[in-house]
Amino acid sequence: MYLLSAAFWSVIRIFIAYFISLLFGIIYGVLAAMNPHRERWIIPLLDVLQSVPILGFFPIAVSLLVFVFRGQRIGLELAAIFLIFTSQVWNIAFGVYETVKTFPRDIAEMATSFGMNPNFLVKRIYIPALIPTIIYNSGVSLAVGWYFLMASEIITLGNVEIRLPGLGTAMMGYVSQGNLVGMLSTVSSIVFINWCTQWFLLRPLIEWSDLFKFGAMGNAPEEPGIVAFLRNNIRWEKLSRQLDRIIAWGESIRKHQQFFSFLRYAFYVALLGLSAYFLYWLARPPYSPRFIQIPESLIITTLRVIIAVGLSILLSFPFVIKAIRTSGAVKNIYTLAATMGSVPAVIFYPLILRSIGREYMGTAAILLLLTGSLWYTLFNMLKGALMIPSTIIEMASNFGVRGFLYYRTILIPAMLPSLITGAITAWGGAWNASMVAEEVNFGREVFSIPGIGSLLLSSTNQPRELLWVVLSMTLWIVIINTLFWKRWYKHAAEKYNFSE
C-alpha cells in the first residue's frame, strides 16, 4: 500500500516534469536553430547547463522555490519537479535543435517559395517534423527521470532533510535500513511503471512517427488510439489561435525598440552586478580544506568516467550488430534499453559488495557509472546504425566485405558521428551518475570512495563549498567538451557524411 501511494506521487512528478521538458525543449531547440544570432549564445548555454550535475541545481531550486513558498509542500514539490526536469530536458532540447538544424533544404525552400511565414512554418512543418526525434528521445528522458528519482525527491535544507512521498524516498529509506526485499520491490515498481510507459505508450508512437520522416517509403503506419484520442479531445484550433495571439503580442512588444533595449541593458547590468557579488562571495576566505581536494577528486572521477564511456561503447556493439542483422530487433532493443535505463545505480551496490568485497569498491564504482552511461551510447548508436543507407550495407555484402574488415571500414566509420554523440551524452550521464555511485548509506554503514561525486555529496549542507565543487566540475566538463568532444564530432560529421 505504501509503495502504491509512493508510486502515484512519483508518476505525477515524472510526467509533469516531462511535459515541461517537452515544452521547454521544443521552444528552446526551435528558437536556437532558427536564428543564427540567437544560436551563438543559446547553444553554448545549453552545453554548460547540460554539464551541471543534477545536484548542482539543488541549491538554486531549493533555496528559491522553498523561499518563495515559505517551505510549504507546493514549493518542495516544485523543487522536486524542477530537479527531475533538469535530468530530462537537455536530451530533448538537443534532439530538437539538431533536427531543425539538419532540416531538408528543398522542404525549407519550398516553404519560402510558397510564402510561409516563420509562425506558419514552425506550426505546420517544423513541429510535425520533430515528432520522430521527440518520441525517440522521450523514451530516454523518461528513463533518466526515473534513474535520478532518488536524487530528486529528497530535499536537503541546511541540516534539515525533507523527504517527499515517492518511490525515490522509499528506495532511500530501504537502502539506509539495509532492507534488501524493500529495495528490490521498489526497484521492480520503478521498472514496471517505466516498462508500461515504454511498451504501451512509446512503442506504438514510435511506429506511428515513421509517418513524419522525410524520405520514408511504403505503407503509411496506422494511427495509434492515443493519437486519435488526443486529436479528438483537445481543441487544437483554439490552442493554435491562442498561440498566434501570444506571438502577435510578443511581436508588438518588440516594436517598442527603445524600451526593449533599455530593459536589456538594465538586465545586463543587474546580471553583471549579481555575478560580481557572487564571485566575491565565492572567492573570499575562509577556504575550506575541501577546496584542495577538488583537483584530485576530479581526476579520479574523470578516469572512472572515461573507462565507463569506453565500456559503454564496447557493450553497445553487439546490440547494434543484432539490430542491423534482424529488422524487427530494433524496437525490442530500444524498449529493453529504455526500461533498463531506469534501474537506479544503488541497487547494484549490495550486489557488488557481496560478490567482490569492499577492497575493490573503486573498480566497482565504474560498473555503477555504467548504469548511467550505457543507455546513451546504445540509443545513439542504434539511431546511427539505422541511418546507414541500405545501399552501403548491400554493397558490403555483395563484395564480401565481412568480419573485422566490415566493422573497421564500414560499420564503425558510418556510425561514427552518432557514436560520438552517444559518447558525449554517455560522458554527461556518467558524470551525473558519479553522484549516486560514489557514496551510499547502506544499512548503518556508509560506503564512500574518493571522487568528485562523493565530495559533492558531503558538501551538500554548505552552500558555498557545494557551489565551489559544482562550478569546478562544470567548468572541467565544459573545457573537455569544447577541447575534445566537439572537435572530434565536427571532424567526424564532416568526413563520414552520407549526404553528397
Partner: protein, 255 residues
C-alpha cells in the same frame, strides 16, 4: 513585354576562407509567353540561378527585376517545381496542396475546391487521400506540379523536374505539361526550366540559354521555333541538337 530580368547577377560563396563564385555576371531576360530552358553541366550554378530568379536567395551582386520592379524577397507571383518533389510526408496529396493555399491565405472552402481542381488537372483523381510515400516517383511529381499550379502563379520555375523520373514517365509528364501550357488553361505566363538533358531542352523550349561550368557564365543562346509537338528525330531537331552540342563543347575548350 519582359516579365523577369536578371542583370549582372553574381553569387559568391566563402568556404574555408576561400572566395569562389558559383555564377558570374549572368544576364537573362524572360519575355511573357516564353518557355526558357537553362542548360549547363552538372555542378554549374543552374539551380542557383533559378533560386535567385525566384527570390529565394539574394544575389551577391547584381539585381533581379520582376515586371520592372526590383525583387527583394520571395516572389509571390512565382512558384517552383522541385527536382526531388519536396512533398510533406505526413500530409496526403490533397493536404499537401491545401497547405500552400493556406499559406497564401485562401479560406478553407476555396482551398478544397482549388486543390481538387488541380489534382484533377494533373490526372491524380482518386489519389487525394494517398500519402506521398505510397506514390511512385512520377505521381509524386504530378503532386509537385499540381501544388505549383494551384497557387496560380504568373511565372513557373522548374528545377530539373524530370531528372528523378524514369525515361518513360519523364516523357509522359513532359508531354502532358506542354499540352497544359499550350492549351492556355493555366495562369502562368512564362516558364523557366533548368535541365542538363539536351534533348529535353530542345523538346520543350522556345529559347535555350547555355551556361558554362563553374563559375557559370552565359556562353550562348539558341532560339527554338520548331512547331509543336516536336519530333525528336526530325532533321531540324537534330540540327539544333548539333548546334547546342558544339556550343557546349566550345565553352569547355575555351576554359
Amino acid at each position: 513585354m519582359i516579365l523577369l530580368e536578371l542583370k549582372e547577377v553574381t553569387k559568391a560563396y566563402i568556404e574555408k576562407g576561400k572566395h569562389f563564385s558559383a555564377i558570374d555576371e549572368i544576364d537573362l531576360a524572360v519575355k511573357e509567353g516564353e518557355l526558357v530552358v537553362i542548360v549547363g553541366p552538372s555542378g554549374s550554378g543552374k539551380s542557383t540561378v533559378v533560386r535567385i530568379a525566384a527570390g529565394l536567395v539574394p544575389p551577391t551582386k547584381g539585381q533581379v527585376f520582376y515586371k520592372g520592379q526590383p525583387l527583394l524577397g520571395p516572389n509571390p507571383n512565382a512558384s517552383i517545381v522541385f527536382q526531388n518533389f519536396a512533398l510533406i510526408p505526413w500530409l496526403t496529396v490533397q493536404e499537401n496542396i491545401e497547405l500552400v493555399l493556406e499559406a497564401r491565405g485562401l479560406p478553407p472552402r476555396q482551398r478544397i475546391r482549388t486543390a481538387l481542381k488541380y489534382i484533377d488537372l494533373v490526372g491524380l483523381d482518386s489519389f487525394e487521400d494517398a500519402y506521398p510515400r505510397e506514390l511512385s516517383g512520377g505521381m509524386k511529381q504530378r503532386v509537385g506540379f499540381a501544388r505549383a499550379l494551384a497557387v496560380e502563379p504568373e511565372i513557373l520555375f522548374m528545377d530539373e523536374p524530370f531528372s528523378s523520373l524514369d525515361v518513360l514517365t519523364a516523357a509522359d509528364l513532359r508531354e502532358e505539361f506542354l499540352k497544359l501550357w499550350t492549351s492556355g488553361k493555366l495562369s502562368i505566363r512564362s516558364v523557366v526550366m533548368v535541365t542538363h538533358n539536351i534533348e529535353e531542352a530542345i523538346f520543350m523550349s522556345d529559347r535555350i540559354v547555355v551556361l558554362s561550368a563553374r563559375p557559370s557564365k552565359v556562353v550562348g543562346e539558341i532560339e527554338v521555333s520548331l512547331p509543336r509537338p516536336r519530333d525528336t528525330h526530325s532533321r531540324d531537331f537534330e540540327s539544333i541538337m548539333d548546334q547546342l552540342y558544339s556550343l557546349i563543347v566550345s565553352s569547355h575548350i575555351s576554359k
